[in-house]
């Protein structure tokens, strides 16, 4: 790692704050569903905290991301406010999308979260278009397309990476390889030993990194985002990680090797990075504990706010279908 790509203390602590927020938010989400306070399909990103946290530390508010049903971590790392998010999860009119989109379709342009999609592979072609708009305007923005390992086998991945390369778009394709696509193991679905190797098909830099390693992820993102901003085109980053929970809330994970899962959970990147920060003098235990308490309070507040908010009016069914409401 060059010095250029070595983050300073503020940045490192900022990354940790994102990670801690994602972890705490996930734990609360599962509890809130378990206790029946909310009903929603929930795709836990637990275990994948590092990736968007380290990437977002290289992004501005005005940079764009397109993410997927699992992307709560990507959204939080990019800055979607907790209250707006929770109100959306609760289907309330105060939510990011007035409750009409729900967890799989969080949109929050103010923080650059332009599209959240439930269709595997579809974040990538749209990310290209956002990147094209930046290329046209010369506004220096970068677009991140998040997707999973399973999504690297669908047609949209191929079409999008090819176009991005031919048009030299300022986009970074970030594959969060958590080894599973629903219940199917990586090897059973994916013919490439490494997804990063697929970048060669598009004459695009491709790199596989340990997506649970903050410094490695930060550096790879820094390089790729820098390339994009400089007009040097797209990059494919394959960030290795592991999904701690079932594909969707309620999935008991019977298909997974318990040993593999236990090992991954034992190597939980969040406490690991926390310890590293303290060990390397970037933060004190008390500071981090205070930060975590603050996060917990914010989440509490957001949930209370969400659950106290109104549901949208039934009339919303005919609004936002078109610009002008049909008579």
């Amino acid at each position: 790692m060059t010095n250029r790509t070595k983050p300073g203390t503020t940045t490192l602590v900022g990354i940790y704050r994102r990670m801690a927020l994602i972890k705490a938010n996930d734990e609360r989400s599962r509890k809130v569903i378990m206790t029946g306070r909310l009903v929603m399909p929930y795709y836990s990103p637990r275990g994948q905290e590092v990736i968007p946290s380290a990437i977002s530390a290289n992004l501005n508010d005005s940079d764009y991301i397109c993410t997927i049903y699992r992307g709560t971590h990507d959204m939080l790392a990019k800055g979607v406010p907790l209250k707006d998010l929770w109100a959306e999860l609760a289907g309330r009119v105060t939510g990011t999308c007035k409750g009409k989109g729900g967890p799989m379709h969080i949109t929050h342009p103010k923080s650059g979260v332009m599209v959240t999609t439930g269709i595997v592979g579809s974040s990538m072609p749209i990310a290209n278009g956002l990147a094209w708009s930046s290329q046209l305007k010369g506004d220096g923005r970068v677009t991140i397309a998040y997707f999973g390992d399973g999504a690297s086998n669908i047609g949209a991945f191929h079409e999008a990476l090819n176009l991005a390369s031919v048009w030299k778009l300022p986009v970074v394709f970030v594959c969060q390889n958590n080894e599973w696509g629903e219940h199917t193991a990586y090897e059973k679905a994916t013919s490439a030993a490494r997804i990063a190797d697929r970048a060669a098909s598009y004459s695009m830099p491709g790199i596989r990194i340990d997506g649970n390693d903050v410094l490695e992820t930060y550096a790879a993102a820094h390089d790729a985002i820098g390339r994009a901003r400089a007009g040097d085109g797209p990059t494919l980053i394959e960030a290795m990680t592991f999904r701690f929970h079932g594909h969707i809330f309620g999935d008991a994970d019977a298909y997974m090797s318990p040993e593999r899962k236990a090992a991954a959970m034992a190597a939980d990147p969040v406490p690991r990075f926390r310890a590293w920060l303290i060990e390397h003098g970037h933060a004190g235990e008390a500071d981090l504990a205070a930060m975590e308490a603050e996060i917990d309070a914010e989440i509490d507040e957001a949930i209370d706010y969400a659950l106290a908010s109104d549901f949208p009016d039934i009339a919303e069914l005919s609004r936002d279908v078109f610009a002008v409401e049909a008579a």
Partner: protein, 326 residues
Amino acid sequence: MRNISILEGINRALVDAMEADESVLILGEDVADPEDGGVLGVTKGLSTRFGEHRVRSTPIAEQAIVGAAIGVSLGGYKPVAEIMLMNFTTVAMDMIVNHAAKLRFMSGGQTNVPIVIRTMTGSGFANGGQHSDYLEAWFAHTAGIKVVAPSNPSDAYGLLRSAIDDPDPVIFIENLPTYFAKGEAPESGHRVPIGKANIVREGNDVTIVAYARMVQEATAAVEALAARGVSAELIDLRSIAPWDREAVLASVQKTGRAIVVHEAVTPFGTGSEISAVIHENLFHALKAPVQRLGAAFCPVPFSRPLEAAFAPDAAAIEAAAASLLA
């Protein structure tokens, strides 16, 4: 006879079809047992019993799934391909519409595509705008493909067996919220002919045509109407393409009034076709215009009260019937 769920009915139909005919295959995301026999277990036990060469989990690649199904059917097999949710047919429309539906015609009858595409959908589970659409009208508007949508375990079994027997492609639509709805178990080998409706309840005042989950709502409506002294005839269409014109027309000839109910949005939906045909054929027998009841014209909303108001329910059907009779 013991009760089983729709999900079990589907599973049994697959088991019995695979048992009866070695050429029956299954493919789709997560369908084999190492992958739990599907995210909801619909295909559970099949790969263990029949082998992973006959029950294959696939990559997430719906064009590849339907393409493989088409090709293997050209090679003499009868594949049942699962497209997990109906909205995901949108990434495989070329394979379904330009190929599966057309190869028989374009080859002048030399090749045919005896595939079944099982897919699932339905509002009510808070899955939002990209996971709950009913798109049956698209396929019904495509020459060369059949479409069925059962509403109970026995029909699910019988229609799936018929779909697998069928020498042409069939879209078999399952409904998520009623997967665990129980009903009478079919006898092994039971068939429901494609294109044949089921008169669930006879009546004289108004005909209600429905399919899939809407049959449950319509059943409740019919009971409420009976309590009000209205005798409604309920037809479970079961097959959408082809649909049972004879049964529907005979019923409306008798009642003079009809309501068509579906969960897809109303405009340009299957209700429009059925309404048009009823009007064309029973212009003089009709006492009132046919009513169409479909979902609100918007993407499926997430928020619970919006989702609850999205698709027709028993109350809406009852109200429509009452207004027709007013």
